[in-house]
C-alpha cells in the first residue's frame, strides 16, 4: 500500500514534532491506563477488605460510619455496646462465631484493636482468606500485641520488642499509657487490607490500660503496676463493635432485624456487602471525576495531534499538488492524512502502554506497601484493550478533520500551487 509508506516516511521526516505528539499521546494513554488500574485495584481491594462476615454490629449510627470505623479503622464510634448485649447476641443459636472489637487507642498513628483469639480464627478477607502469622503467635499474655504487616515494617518491630500504646488517636498523643508496656507477640502476614495497619491486643489489655483513667483523663497519682494488673480480673464492660458469622446465611435477615429492634440499647446491624456498596457509591463520585479528567487528558493529546497535522497542511500544499499530478486521487490524500493520525495514535498507545508497565513495575510495590492497594500486573487486560481501541478510534476520527481539509485544499489547488 503506497499511501501507508508515504505516511510513515512523511512522519519520520517530521520526527521532532511527530515524536513530541506521540509523547503527549503516550503520556495521556499511560495516565488513562494507570488510573484505570488504580481504580480497578482500589475497587477490588475495597471489596476484599472483609469477607465471610455476615453482620457487623455497632451502636446505632449510620451504616457507612459503622463500616468505616469497624473495617477501615477510619473515624470513631459514637457510642459503645455493653458487654451484656454483646453476650446476648453472641450466644444466639444461629450465631457460629463473633469477633468483639474495641477501638479507640493508637500506637504511633496506627489504630489499636482490642479483640479476642476469635479474630485470628474467624476473620476473613479477600477470597475468604484467613489471617496468617508471619512470625510469632497470637496473644497469650495480657500485654501481648500482634502487629499488622505494615505496622511492623514501618516501625521496625520484630517479635519480642516492647511497644507502648497511647490513649486516644494522635501519632504523638501526649497521653501515653507508658506504665503498661506491651510486647510484640506476633506479626501478621500482609493482607493488603486495613488489618496491615492495625495493632491487635486482647480486650483485657484494653481494659488494663484504662484502669487508671476516667473520662479520658488520668486519675491523679494513680498508677497500677503491670503485675497488679495481671492479677486483676479484667472484664470488659463494653466494646465498640462486633462481627458475626452465622451457622446458616438464611438467618441473616432475622438476626439483623432482632438486633436493630433490640430494646436493651440502640444497636445497628449491617450487611458488609451492602454497606461496602454504599460506601463505594459515595467514593465513586470521585472515581468518576478522576476518570473524566483522564478522558480529558487523552482528548487534549489527540487535539494536539490534530493541531500538528493541521499546522503542517499549509507547507504541504506543494506535496499534495505533486501527489495529485502523479495520479493520487482525493481519497489517497484523505487516506494519507488519516494514516498519519492513526500512526501517531498507534505509536502513542504503544509507548503509553510501555510507560504504564514500567510505572506499574516501579510504583506498584510502593503503592501496595503504602496504601494497601494491590494493582493487577501481568499483560494487557481486556479492559485495557477496549480503552486502547477507543483511543485509536478517537485518533482516527481526529484525523478526519485535517484529512478533509487537505482534500478540499488539494482539489482547489489541482496540480499547480502558486507559492
Amino acid at each position: 500500500m503506497p499511501i501507508l509508506r508515504l505516511a510513515l516516511a512523511s512522519l519520520i521526516n517530521r520526527k521532532t514534532t511527530a515524536a513530541l505528539t506521540v509523547l503527549s499521546i503516550a503520556l495521556s494513554v499511560a495516565l488513562l491506563l494507570s488510573v484505570e488500574r488504580m481504580r480497578a485495584g482500589a475497587k477490588q481491594g475495597f471489596a476484599n477488605t472483609i469477607s465471610g462476615t455476615d453482620l457487623i454490629v455497632g451502636a446505632r449510627s449510620g451504616q457507612v460510619q459503622l463500616l468505616l470505623f469497624s473495617v477501615f479503622r477510619i473515624g470513631n464510634a459514637t457510642n459503645s455496646i455493653t458487654w451484656q448485649s454483646y453476650q446476648q447476641f453472641a450466644n444466639d443459636r444461629n450465631v457460629a462465631w463473633t469477633i468483639p472489637m474495641s477501638l479507640g487507642d493508637s500506637h504511633r498513628g496506627y489504630r489499636v484493636l482490642g479483640t479476642t483469639g476469635a479474630y485470628f480464627e474467624h476473620f476473613r478477607y479477600g477470597r475468604k482468606q484467613p489471617l496468617e502469622l508471619a512470625d510469632g503467635v497470637p496473644f497469650d499474655d495480657l500485654f501481648d500485641a500482634v502487629l499488622g504487616a505494615e505496622v511492623a515494617t514501618a516501625l521496625g518491630y520484630s517479635v519480642g520488642d516492647p511497644i507502648v500504646v497511647a490513649h486516644g488517636l494522635g501519632s504523638e498523643g501526649f497521653l501515653r499509657h507508658e506504665e503498661t508496656p506491651f510486647r510484640v507477640a506476633g506479626i501478621l502476614a500482609p493482607t493488603g487490607t486495613p488489618v496491615d495497619r492495625t495493632v491487635h491486643v486482647s480486650l483485657q489489655a484494653i481494659e488494663a490500660i484504662h484502669v487508671d483513667w476516667r473520662s479520658g483523663a488520668r486519675i491523679p497519682g494513680m498508677t497500677t503496676a503491670a503485675e497488679v494488673l495481671r492479677k486483676m480480673e479484667l472484664k470488659p464492660k463494653s466494646i465498640t463493635a462486633f462481627l458475626v458469622g452465622l451457622e446458616s446465611r438464611f438467618a441473616v435477615f432475622g438476626l439483623q432485624r432482632s438486633i436493630n429492634e433490640y430494646r436493651g440499647e440502640p444497636l445497628l446491624a449491617i450487611l458488609p456487602g451492602v454497606a461496602l456498596q454504599e460506601l463505594w457509591s459515595l467514593i465513586s463520585t470521585a472515581e468518576i471525576a478522576l476518570s473524566a479528567i483522564t478522558v480529558c487528558v487523552v482528548a487534549s493529546g489527540l487535539i494536539g495531534m490534530t493541531v500538528m497535522l493541521l499546522a503542517g497542511l499549509r507547507e504541504r500544499r506543494r506535496e499534495m499538488a505533486v501527489l495529485r499530478s502523479i495520479g493520487a486521487q482525493p481519497r489517497h490524500i484523505f487516506t494519507l492524512m488519516v494514516s498519519e493520525a492513526v500512526g501517531l495514535t498507534l505509536a502513542g498507545c504503544v509507548v503509553g502502554l510501555a510507560l504504564t508497565f514500567a510505572a506499574m513495575t516501579l510504583v506498584a510495590p510502593l503503592i501496595e506497601a503504602r496504601l494497601g492497594l494491590h494493582l493487577a500486573m501481568g499483560g494487557i487486560t481486556i479492559w485495557d484493550a477496549k480503552l486502547l481501541a477507543l483511543v485509536i478510534a478517537s485518533g482516527t476520527i481526529a484525523g478526519f478533520l485535517p484529512a478533509a481539509l487537505a482534500v478540499r485544499q488539494s482539489i482547489a489547488d489541482g496540480t499547480t500551487v502558486r507559492t
Binding site: P2, L6, A9, S10, I12, N13, R14, R318, E319, A321, V322, L323, R324, S325, I326, G327, A328, Q329, P330, R331, H332, G414, T415, T416, R418, T419
Partner: protein
C-alpha cells in the same frame, strides 16, 4: 551484471499503440465558478504524437488553467478535452486521476520532489499509482529502482557515484533532473512541463531540455511545455502563443 547501453533502444513491443493525436482541445470554454468571464475560450488546439510543443504566455494568461484542464483536474464548462485519444469529459473524477497516473508525466517549475522520500523513491512514485507505468518500467530494467537510476543518470545525474540519497542534498538543477526522470518513468504518452527551466541557468537549461527530449523521443513521448521564456523556443518543434489560440477578450 551486464553493463547497460548508454543510449537505450526503444522497445517497440512494449510501446502503446501510436495515436496520431496526442492532444486535442476543441471548443473549450472555461470559467471559474464565481467568475463572470471565462478565462479560456479555445476553438481548437491539437498536438500530434511525438511533437515537442511550447505554449508561451505571460503569467495570468490562463496557462495554469489550461494545464489543469489537460491534466483532468478540472473540466471545461463547454467543449472537449482529449488526451491520448480519450475524452476526459467522459471520465469521472477518480477515473481522470487514474488516467493522469497512467498517461501523463509532470515537471513543475520548482519543488517537484517529496522531501521525505529518497531520490529513487521520488522517481518511482508514479509507478505506485499506475500499474501500466510500473509494467513498462519493469519491462525496461530488472527493477523499478534500476529503471529510476537509469533515467536519473540519463538526465545527467549520477546519484550512485555522488552518493546522493536525500532530496535535500540536491541543487535546484539536480532536482529538476530527478523530476524529469519521474515524469519519464514508465513512458507516459504525454509530459506536461510547467516552466521547467525557469529556475535554471541557460547552459543547464539547454542540456536539461535536450536530455529530456532525447529520452522522450526514444519512447515516443509527446512533450508539452508552458513558459514565458523566449530562449526556450528554438529547441521545440512548434511554438504556440496562448494568446493566438485563446480567444478570450480581456
Amino acid at each position: 551484471m551486464r553493463p547497460k547501453a548508454s543510449k537505450p533502444k526503444p522497445m517497440n513491443w512494449s510501446e502503446p499503440p501510436v495515436n496520431p493525436r496526442a492532444l486535442l482541445v476543441k471548443d473549450v470554454k472555461f470559467r471559474w465558478a464565481k467568475a463572470a468571464q471565462p478565462v479560456l475560450d479555445i476553438p481548437e488546439f491539437a498536438v500530434r504524437a511525438g511533437e515537442r510543443v511550447l505554449i508561451k504566455g505571460a503569467s495570468g494568461s490562463g496557462k495554469t488553467t489550461l494545464l489543469n484542464l489537460l491534466a483532468g483536474v478540472v473540466l471545461p464548462s463547454y467543449g472537449l478535452v482529449e488526451v491520448a485519444g480519450v475524452a476526459l469529459n467522459d471520465l469521472g473524477g477518480a477515473s481522470r486521476d487514474k488516467f493522469r497516473a497512467d498517461h501523463i508525466g509532470f515537471v513543475f517549475q520548482l519543488f517537484n520532489l517529496l522531501p521525505y522520500l529518497s531520490i529513487v523513491e521520488n522517481v518511482i512514485l508514479p509507478c505506485r499509482f499506475s500499474r501500466a507505468r510500473r509494467t513498462r518500467a519493469i519491462a525496461r530494467s530488472p527493477s523499478l529502482a534500476e529503471e529510476a537510476q537509469r533515467l536519473v543518470s540519463h538526465m545527467g545525474l549520477d546519484i550512485s557515484r555522488d552518493g546522493l540519497r536525500s532530496v535535500a542534498e540536491l541543487s535546484i538543477g539536480q532536482q529538476q533532473r530527478v523530476a524529469a526522470a519521474r515524469a519519464l518513468i514508465g513512458a507516459p504518452e504525454l509530459i506536461i512541463a510547467d516552466e521547467p527551466t525557469s529556475a535554471l541557468d541557460s547552459e543547464s537549461r539547454d542540456q536539461f531540455l535536450s536530455l529530456l527530449f532525447e529520452e522522450a523521443e526514444a519512447n515516443g513521448i509527446t512533450v508539452l511545455a508552458v513558459s514565458h521564456d523566449e530562449a526556450m523556443m528554438r529547441v521545440f518543434s512548434r511554438v504556440v502563443s496562448l494568446n493566438d489560440i485563446n480567444h478570450v477578450t480581456v
